[in-house]
């Protein structure tokens, strides 16, 4: 499930990602990320319930993360980064943020 909700103030939005983030859902993920980037100044990302993801999701998250940093958006995370996410980040070589900013701890690939 991919869901984006904006709080009452309209400045902060939470992107709730769960279930399978694979190529079948890549378009929906892109749309949610674009919306989050365009609608709020602060993005809260929640990956807690992600059960699988593939390279398409990693590319989208990486591109969004990069854009948001460039745009000066505040990005935070709620919940944990599931093991499966860390493992795919690690195995795909996406460890380390090329923008040098991994405040949300998504790109560590660390085993919990």
């Amino acid at each position: 499930m991919i869901d984006f909700s904006v709080d009452e103030s309209g400045t902060s939005g939470t992107l709730l990602l769960s279930g399978s983030l694979t190529i079948q859902h890549a378009l929906a993920l892109k749309e949610a990320l674009v919306r989050a980037g365009s609608e709020v100044k602060q993005v809260v990302i929640n990956l807690d319930q992600v059960s699988s993801l593939d390279l398409t999701a990693l590319q989208l998250l990486c591109a969004a993360h990069r854009d948001w940093i460039k745009a000066g958006k505040k990005i935070t995370r709620e919940g944990n980064v599931p093991d499966i996410v860390n493992r795919v980040v690690r195995e795909s070589g996406f460890v380390g943020c090329s923008a040098g900013n991994d405040a949300i701890g998504l790109w560590t690939g660390a085993s919990n």
Partner: protein, 699 residues
Amino acid sequence: MAVEIDTSAFTEEAYELLSELEDSLLELEERPTDIELISRVFRAMHTIKGSGAMFGFDEVAKFTHEVETVFDMARSGSLPVTKALIDLTLAARDQIRSILDASRGGPPANQDNANRIIAGLRALAPQKGGAAAVESKAAAPKAETDGPHVFRVRFEPRPEIFSSGTNPLLLLNELRDMGQCRVVALTNALPSLEDLDPERCYTQWEIFLTTTQGENAIRDVFIFVEDDCTLNVRLLDRDEAQEDAEPKKLGEILLERGDINEEALGKALTPLGDRLVNAGVVSADKVRAALTEQRVVQEQKQQQSKAAEVDAVVRVPSTKLDKLVNLVGELVTVQARLNQISGRLNNQHLQLVSEEIERLTGELRDNTMSIRMLAIGSTFNKFKRLVRDLSTELGKQIELTTAGADTELDKTVIDQLNDPLVHIIRNSIDHGIEKPDVRALTGKPLVGQIHLSAVHSGTSVLIQVKDDGKGLDPQLLRRKAVEKGLLSPDAVLSDPEAFMLIFGAGFSTAEKITNVSGRGVGMDVVRKSIESLRGTIDVQSQLGIGTTITLKLPLTLAIIEGLLVGVNHDYFVLPLAAVEECVELSPQDIANSHGRRIVNVRGEIVPFIRVRERFAMEGERPVIEQIVIANVDGRRVGFGVDTVVGQHQTVIKNLGDSFQYSDEFSGATILGDGTVALLLDLARMVRYVELQETKETGG
């Protein structure tokens, strides 16, 4: 013309490998599922087989092949490592050793034994698949003997690769199965989110794979996507195969890969990665990939150098080494003379040169001595097998633990230490450690412990054999000694003195003689061997608790720290390690002792031997004599001399044949002015004086 092949290199190596093989097998017995150990055993046999065939040792090669074939099944997991397999492989190891011994003039190896071992091993092998399957497996591991290499794989999939149903991450995982893998994703082609087509692949990879497999195997992983990607596979560590090549610097790697040009590199130096990225010359991903490459290659190089350390050994016959030590000894002596002469002449130029030579000689001496120093661990390891076999033979359960295996000792000392330690350990197993049922009755753990340890103590090494067996009974020892006529019935012995009786010639308390011990020969030999090494023995024991035998040995036999003393116009050296203090003996002291050779040291009465009297030397005693008090076999004994000159670095020279009956001297040294000083064997002096006194008093 027939070509003579020097086979000694092979036999030397094979003996070492057999020793390693034995250690590994004993370890494997404790950890039978340890794949690394199984591989180590296999490698040792594989090398013996290969080198054996190369040097014409066909019998070794043929026999080892049979054993290796079965052990390879253990390596592949089709045969479990059991005690039976270990027993047979150990027996095979002994058989290989017998074949080697036979080639060096020893008794011929027993072929029946070889056949029995092979039959036993074959019986262990699973029947399914038959001999052909076994053969093919034995040949298989060849590729692995080449050692691992680092490959850089640059994988650039076409953006449309997802449409063919390919998941590039699965390919990366396949590579991961081939060895140690570091993956760096290059994401610089990733567009902004807005422009990103989520069904296209924008990522490329650099993968650093450390593997024993070749380039073709790597390419095979990508065989189904070869039209959908650009693939570049490069062996990284081949360029750096030369021993002295430094791992490439980050800048060099980026340059070589064409990621930056020299101008950019020149502009941005430290910290290079950050500055290059900031300058916009190269992406952070590429720097990350280059850093990964640098790290992987360095790690691989470290691994290789670790392995090379084992191989980077020059074998030199020990006789050459002995000659070198002798020459260095001569040099030290000549240098001392030079020092003395330059001091006397008071010539500044000469003094400068002399000091420089002194420094160099000192370094040369220390280096030469260090070459002869070997870790005692290899000797310790031999005893694991001894304990295993003997305890099985005697129906006992014994665990041998060791400590201080890396303690270094002079090679000569180590060589001569083996037999005494064998005797002591055999004795512990046979007489010390009780059988499990006896131990159970006394509330001890069923498994007996023998702890073998080595530790440096000043210029000596203490080697301890400690067991938790039944301990020594001083009363029984006294009684046996009296029965055998080794001790007079009225002799008074302290417990430690009674314990030392076990080292007497012909002494044994064993009720029955076994194959292992009980003939009263071994422990006598131990004492003689240790004394010939200028060492001492100490025994501590508690009845029912256990025994600890401590051997105190000099670090080296070639150069020792000595105390130089003078008697008349002659000089003697006492081993400094034994010396405890020096006191003066005045005419008043002599008068107080009423003719007995004793000195009162702070209330303690210490007997002493006058060196002048002992060796019937001419000349008058000085008014005040010097008594050097030394620890001899655990007792304080004084040695009366005229003067104490001081500490002296003593290069020990062997005495010629004319001194063969004068065993109160254990060697000689040449002093700076060319004078010869004799090295006193304090323990023997004390023993001879005691013997003489016993005869004189008719005791």
